[in-house]
Amino acid sequence: MMRGIRAIALAGLLAPGLAQAADTITFGIVSATSGPLAAAGKFQINGFNLAMEKLNRDGGIEVGGKKYSVALKIYDTHCSPAEGASAMERLASVDKVPVVLGELCSPVAAAEMPVAQDNSVPFIITVPTAESLTEQGNPWTFRVNADNNQLNKSLGQLVVNRAMAPLAFIAWNNDAGRGGVKSMQALLPADVKVAYTGYFNVGEVDFSAHVSNIRRSGAKAVMLFMDEEPGALAIRQIRDAGLDVQLIGTLAMGSGRFLTRLNAQYLSGMVQYNAFPPNAPLPRIKSFNDAYVAAFKDESHGFAAQSYDALMVAADAVHRAGVLGNGEAVRKALAATRYDGVIGEIRFDAKGQANPPSYVTQWCDDGTRKIVFPEALASACGGG
């Protein structure tokens, strides 16, 4: 019997990536399809799927004169560093993918990056925002999305310009929330007063204690670093408590879907940083949003746009590398990327960090949004 078990175990361990047919290039995706972050993971995977379909519709990727169709291999990392590292190893050594993309959680990305390096597989991060990831200078890691500092810069400017201080924060007590608060507070000029910082655990739903404290702190604006679901709860509780403060949010709170969770009265006047205002009067954004709506019956999301661009960048790099099975060639091609994506122009700096534009949008009374920053793109209601 033991022999049988051993045989099964070996078969499982040694089975090569059979899924990879001869004329297909399979990209590796690490994301969350279950657990508390699965909702965010879905946007990410939607973006990848949209890019894959687009690539295949256009005839696939040409490498060394031969056309290849594109496929994805998606592994769930559960926001666990150990599972992330294993998934990366499996994608690199068993599935032998040319590039791995995705991830949602910063610590998991930190565990995946060295594995990618060990295996000489380029890794493109599309959502985590911790600055520490690219600051390590791992040559095999690239990030298309803006990090905390880049995202917060424009918002910080706005806080100063509009004199929103004293400020209060409510944030997830995880890498996304704490990272956002840390970065924002570091970016703000010393004279901007932070009146209150409140953290809550993922899964917590009652913000009444924070709301009371904010009221007493005399803050004029509240900055929310969290995802859609708690964000909607927090805003409702702030408004229901009759707290008349300027609301400031993350990109998760600048979508039409977010509106369906609340209503225009709750959101009116709220500003949020945004990597991708889906209704911006820019052709690249408009066409992506249309395609996304057609495919998923839902307004597009920044995570999707970032992931879409990342796969496009990867495909472009593989194409320019011109050979398959050479990680170093792809890495070099990636480092030299110049790509006009839907989120903006993507080129990586020496540490692999791209510098996509970031926006600030604001909710109007009628439930539409407008762009308020950068001022050059400032739009009317309905254009954010």
Partner: protein, 289 residues
């Protein structure tokens, strides 16, 4: 003033913790079973309420009752199939609970997907002004329903034949047997009652907040803390423990950084146990040193 305001804030989650803790302590008191899977029944209550509201009839009070009843049925089934046989072994109760948590949470993920669902009861969104505070009707409803449930439970335990039998069984199982109480039925009833209360809690929180697979995890941790604070033997202790934790959580935001809120709660738990190893209202159980 700030303390008073935070105490009010803590009251609502505190009453949910109390509802949760009372169920756990009932089961523990009668069966000596620590059911860590109590949280998934809480979560199931939220989903049942949502299912009733969307597929059966959008009448919230009825949905509340049906969810509680559904929770009771689940509890009775769990008792019969799993926990009745594990009464002697505390570690195995924990193992089975973990297994149930894995099964149910992932089952719900498969069925309903990862996104939280929302129970929409517009009437409950009405804001009731309370001095400078705005409180929604749902918040008031939670405190009131929990209060009524506690009062009802108290009446049931003290006035009714079955409730008295439950207390009797928890005090002396052998004596309960000789007066004709069937322990197995009492166990099933206890589990059903406790689970019904948990499901009611989930259904109550649903409209105000969200319904998602892990929604029972935090109440579970706080509920466990509450029953330990209360001494693991008394229903009243569990209620006070639950309310105390809710208030303590809210008050702690005045004194300590908010990311240390849970730490404050658990540190208080450990400190209390250092001074009173059997909890605030606990007594040594029979036959213990």
């Amino acid at each position: 003033m700030a303390f008073l305001e935070q105490a009010l804030n803590g009251l609502m989650m505190g009453s949910i913790y109390a509802l949760f803790a009372v169920g756990m302590v009932l089961v523990f008191g009668v069966m000596r079973v620590l059911n860590f899977a109590h949280g998934v029944i809480f979560m199931a209550g939220g989903y049942m309420c949502h299912a009733v509201m969307t597929h059966v009839v959008a009448f919230y009070p009825l949905a509340l009752l049906l969810s509680a009843a559904g929770g009771a049925v689940i509890g009775a089934v769990l008792e019969r199939l799993v926990f009745r046989r594990l009464r002697e072994s505390l570690p195995m109760q924990i193992v089975a609970s973990l297994g149930l948590i894995l099964m149910v949470q992932n089952g719900v993920l498969l069925l309903f997907g990862p996104e939280a669902v929302q129970i929409s009861v517009p009437a409950m969104r009405t804001v009731v002004p309370l001095g400078p505070l705005g409180v929604t009707l749902q918040q008031v409803l939670i405190v009131v329903v929990v209060g009524v449930a506690m009062a009802g439970l108290h009446l049931f335990l003290t006035r009714s034949r079955l409730g008295t039998a439950m207390r009797a069984a928890s005090q002396d199982l052998q004596a309960a047997r000789v007066v004709g109480i069937n322990p197995d039925r009492v166990f099933a009833l206890t589990f059903a009652l406790a689970s019904g209360l948990a499901a009611l809690g989930g259904a109550l929180l649903g409209p105000l907040f969200l319904v998602f697979p892990a929604m029972g995890d935090l109440p579970l941790l706080k509920g466990l803390t509450a029953i330990v604070l209360g001494g693991m033997g008394s229903v009243g202790g569990a209620v006070l423990g639950g309310l105390a934790i809710g208030v303590l959580e809210a008050e702690s935001t005045l004194l300590a950084p908010t990311d240390y809120r849970d730490l404050v709660v658990f540190a208080v738990l450990i400190l209390v146990l250092l001074v009173r190893p059997y909890g605030l209202f606990g007594r040594r159980l029979r036959g213990e040193p």
